[in-house]
């Protein structure tokens, strides 16, 4: 542990005058050398923390001063994440509720009130601002952020949830799409049936949609409680647009009845790459043995986008390491080996890495593969790896001793 300068000075007092000068010079040098004794003591830290509280108090005094222009008041708290003392918190709550204050200042005050969740009356006020279609957008946005924060940090508010959920349901047809999305997101995270049904309706009948279908699918997938996947599977038969198709595919990961649909999307050379990538990733989460079969075919598809083939190779690497996965290792290695001849360097690198890790015969052809690698950088990396494989570090050798 570093000693403090005060400690050093105490030692210095006991020294001979010549030693005193030398020691003083040493202390000055240590002080000049950044990091030489950088550790902050408890005392240093406590002083810094006190200074910080003073800074926040000064910022609060400026912010709460109505005689100052709004821009100056806002600027005063730009470096303050939250007020800290009860007096500051109460003052900020008063400003938030004061309709005569500028909207920007009210929003800034709301964002800096600590512990909204522990004040039921204030929580209710914030929910009501969020639900109030006549409230200024900036204030509603701040209210939305604060409400979401309260729900994650003070779930005790759930005792009043029926009241709040009713307010949020009322916001699902708000004129402002951002507010609608926020309301749906919160409701979906709470597993709210009303919101789930409305989102499913949006997904099935786009003409009645309260949100674009892709966004409805995203929010449905957010609900950890409900089972939206049968709906997703039926939407996948005839998706309204590509974005929605990708979202429902992602939501089907791990859903066994979707396996066939995901396999065919993953293999489909006519499907767009984002659809195929999503399908492969969803397959990997659903059935690793089946994934390897699909991925093997994809790796062998010369016409498949490099990005999709690379994802297939990487996914194979993940699946092969999982316990209980059944596959024909030789066939997989042969397929991956073909990718060493592809045009994309990144794909060749992925194939090389995979073979190096899994193919027991890798040593037989590694040199030849490295020799024919056209990219000089890759070639030298491959050669270096071969060298490493041939002379593994002797684990019994003591590592060379670092010098002080």
């Amino acid at each position: 542990m570093c000693r403090t300068t005060e400690d050093d000075m105490m030692l210095v007092h006991d020294l001979h005058p010549a030693g005193f000068v030398a020691a003083l010079a040493a202390i000055v040098l240590i002080g000049l050398c950044p990091g030489a004794c950088a550790q902050e003591t408890r005392g240093d830290l406590k002083r810094r923390l006190e200074n910080r509280r003073s800074e926040i108090e000064n910022a609060w005094l400026k912010f709460s001063d109505r005689s100052l222009p709004a821009v100056d008041r806002a600027m005063a708290v730009s470096g303050v994440g939250s007020f800290v003392t009860p007096e500051q918190a109460e003052g900020a709550a008063r400003i938030f509720k004061d309709a005569t204050e500028p909207v920007e200042i009210r929003a800034q005050a709301l964002r800096r009130i600590p512990n909204v969740g522990s004040d039921p009356a204030l929580s209710g006020d914030v929910f009501r601002v969020l639900a109030d279609q006549t409230a200024p957008k900036e204030l509603r946005e701040a209210a939305g952020d604060v409400v979401q924060g309260v729900l994650i940090s003070a779930p005790t508010i759930r005792t009043r949830m029926p009241e709040y959920l009713a307010l949020l349901r009322g916001m699902t047809d708000d004129a402002d799409q951002d507010v609608r999305e926020r309301a749906f997101a919160i409701l979906a995270s709470q597993g709210d049936d009303f919101a789930t049904q409305k989102l499913i309706e949006s997904l099935r009948t786009p003409e009645k949609a309260v949100l674009p279908p892709a966004k409805s699918a995203r929010l449905l997938a957010q609900n950890p409680h409900g089972d939206h996947r049968p709906v997703f599977l039926s939407v996948l038969q005839q998706p309204p647009d590509r974005a929605t198709e990708v979202e429902v595919i992602r939501g089907l990961g791990g859903y066994a009845p979707a396996k066939d649909a995901l396999q065919s999307r993953g293999r489909d050379v006519t499907a767009p790459k984002e659809v195929r990538s999503a399908a492969l990733q969803a397959m990997l989460a659903t059935d690793k043995s089946a994934f390897i079969q699909v991925a093997r075919d994809v790796v062998e598809q010369d016409e498949a986008p490099d990005e999709v083939r690379m994802m297939a190779i990487e996914g194979i690497g993940v699946a092969r390491r999982a316990p209980g996965v059944r596959y024909d290792a030789g066939a997989v290695d042969r397929a991956v080996k073909k990718a060493l001849d592809s045009k994309a360097p990144a794909l060749r690198r992925a194939a090389w890495n995979s073979l190096k890790q899994f193919d027991p015969k890798f040593g037989d052809y590694a040199n030849q593969a490295a020799d024919k690698e056209p990219n000089p950088e890759l070639k030298s990396a491959f050669k270096a790896q071969i060298q490493e494989l041939r002379s593994p570090r002797d684990s019994t050798t003591r590592p060379s001793r670092p010098q002080r």
């Binding site: 923390l49 729900l151 940090s153 997938a221 992602r250 969803a282 990997l284 390491r321 999982a322």
Partner: protein, 444 residues
Amino acid sequence: MRSFRPTFLAWCALLTGLVATLPAQAQLSVEILVNGTEDPTDDYVTWAPTRCQIRVHSSTNVTGDVNVVLDSPTADQAGEVLFGEALPFPARSVATEEMLPMSLPASSDWREFVIAGKFERPSTADKDAVIVVRANDPGAAVIGEHRLMVRVRKNANRLTPAERDRFLTALATHNMVEGRYAPYQDIHALASSQAHGYTAFLPWHRAFILRLERELQAIDPSVALPYWRFDEPAPNVFNLDFMGVSSGWWVQFSSANPIRLWSLPGFVGINRAPTFLPSQNPLVVDEDAIVGAPASYWYLCNPLESNPHGRAHVEAGGGGSLGFLDTAVRDPLFFLLHANVDRLWAKWQWVNDLFDNGPYAYWPQGSAPSSDPWTGHYLGDTMWPWNGVTGPPRPVSAPGGAFPVSTRYQAPPSTPRPASVIDYRGRVRAESDLGYCYDDVPHN
């Protein structure tokens, strides 16, 4: 003072002794045990003192005590340890010496000493620190070496690429290969009032993230949970090679990122809609304001849970998984965020020296009266789900089983209580050490 003049006989005796011991000195070697075992998988230390033993190797033929000096040489980016004498192990004993002279008996009996990671000199690679033993003086020949790692939780924004990749690889293996991550989501989604909204918020999450860290260390022992310091910009965290970059909703990763194919049952990928750019930080209470909270637990826990914790979730997650309690764990950023929350508690503990189980360090004391809705939050209550208790006021099920007991650390027990995790570095009782520390929170 009369100077010492050895007699002729004394010189003869000394020369004879030297000649007699020369062959033995040539073969001299020592053995070192870290944590009292020969098992190299537990040779990981923090800033907290760790017990070690040393002896002259049993095959060495020496007579009389052997004087040795223990040292931990410095090398760029390598970990370094300090030494201390093995006093009867009071929890507050420390290792503060750069070198430690010791006298070892020829009988090969073990002698004890303690080591601790040197603050601000953690390891960056597995077993990059070394204890070097020399005979007699610091310049003499090396007669023994023992490699170990000073493993601490670090600021995620400052990890070396190798540290970052080891962490991500372990995380990807844990979830994608071993399939052990999904229960964390189930536990946190069900935890609700067992882990939030009151005082067990901090101890419950301390245990929760420690469990993941220990499972990652079973995959790669050189890994420690990094923390996302959310009151500072973290461009090295929010980039394609680490926690990814949000493209508005779905997070994008580089092709080399081990968590690129991240998925959980029913949810493929990571969604995040942060309100700040990778070069910025969310608008949260800054560290000094939190750590400077009055020295009484209630004044820390409640504000900390609200802001910065809740605010960081919402600003980083937006409408995505991290922004909601029931889905937050889907995004592995959750663990970096909560490591920082835990660090803030740890730093506040250090500033106020509150590692005991007294009312300033934790509140409420005692155990919950029966059917108290805050059961689980009292100091002596067992914490769900590790206690396996279900039914009101506990949740309907308890996924994940008991807390896995470590072979290296006695704490926490399989059914942890808030009281089990407060003294996380074993400052009050050595056996309370949970085996982790933070790069910027000293031990003493």
